[in-house]
Point group: C2
Chain length 203, copies 2
Amino acid sequence: MAKSRNTEQKIFDAATELFLEKGVDRTSVREIASRAGINLALMNYYFRSKENLFYAIFTRLVQKNSEELIRILDSDLPLNDKVRQYVGVYIDMLSDNPLLVSFVMAILHRSRERITEMKVISSLYATEQFTKQLLDEGKKGNIRRTDPTQFFVDMLSLIAFPFAIRALVMDKNNFSEADFQEFIRIRKKHVPEMLIDSLRPRS
Amino acid sequence: MAKSRNTEQKIFDAATELFLEKGVDRTSVREIASRAGINLALMNYYFRSKENLFYAIFTRLVQKNSEELIRILDSDLPLNDKVRQYVGVYIDMLSDNPLLVSFVMAILHRSRERITEMKVISSLYATEQFTKQLLDEGKKGNIRRTDPTQFFVDMLSLIAFPFAIRALVMDKNNFSEADFQEFIRIRKKHVPEMLIDSLRPRS
DNA sequence: GTCTATACGGCGATAGAC
DNA sequence: GTCTATCGCCGTATAGAC
């Protein structure tokens, strides 16, 4: 018992490091065990499978980061401020956590049907309250668009996809790391304004 | 010789089917050989590796579909018409080719450095001529935005990401297949208008 | 070209001893 | 809990008959 949490944590930490360094698929369980300084069998004693370990790490990472996102969506902020804040925080979060981007890619790349099982991934999506707010603003005629699903998918796409095609963008534009960070910094202003524009009633 | 193209084609077709059904990673070369009705050794005779086979299928699929996209980008159409046509054709293409979406996901999920090696993937990105057109319109003061990279990333994100998170969107909205298709059909009108709006000079 | 047969090292997972 | 030893599958490769 005394050593159990310790060992579990060592496996967890070693896996997190390796997943970040080499990606999930290119990291073998033997390598994780080796870096954790334990045996291959122990790896399976604590986490029944590599997939389980992956889920454990992913869940913790998402939970840690998604709380703030949900808090923003469920806040009492006016719609425009809310969009600005949400996009900014979300982009910072993806920018600061390459592992998160890589995990989401790995999950999207997996079988499409079972995405539902990863309940935690829902926390990266819209909340009921935010959907309601959009519908309410629409009824009041304050905004042009009336489909919350389209709006939220637009928002998520503009936030997340650039990180997914990061390598392609960098290659095509001869971007350095700093260039890409500057590109993302500009998006933090640009994306909210574009979304808010799309809501503005026509003059 | 007589049978060679035939066998190569059978392997090609069997692999295409299986990649679509189960995803690239979950399909074994033994399974491909089995479905193609041939032997494991032949599999290695024609394509030296599974990776080679994957690239062959992917390259052919992209080339077949990207020609029209490039033709549109390099056409003499006015900017707004070009955006409408490009988005519509691109969305149709992704809608009709789930394999293409899955392959792009697989590649994005692979090592980020080597994306450059897949030269064919560049054909899914902007052309020089289109970039030039955006810059020219900007100089003439016809459009508000001046950064072609941001615009093109916006466009690609709004087109492609919804297909990547298709399962999530369907789950969160209780969409049937038909519902999702309708959702996409609406996007074919909505996305170009949103992009064109973002270009329109402020009144 | 196509086949059978066999082999290699690496993988994820597990049985069973301690 | 922790270990050793082993299983079955994987991608890849090759030798040799037809």
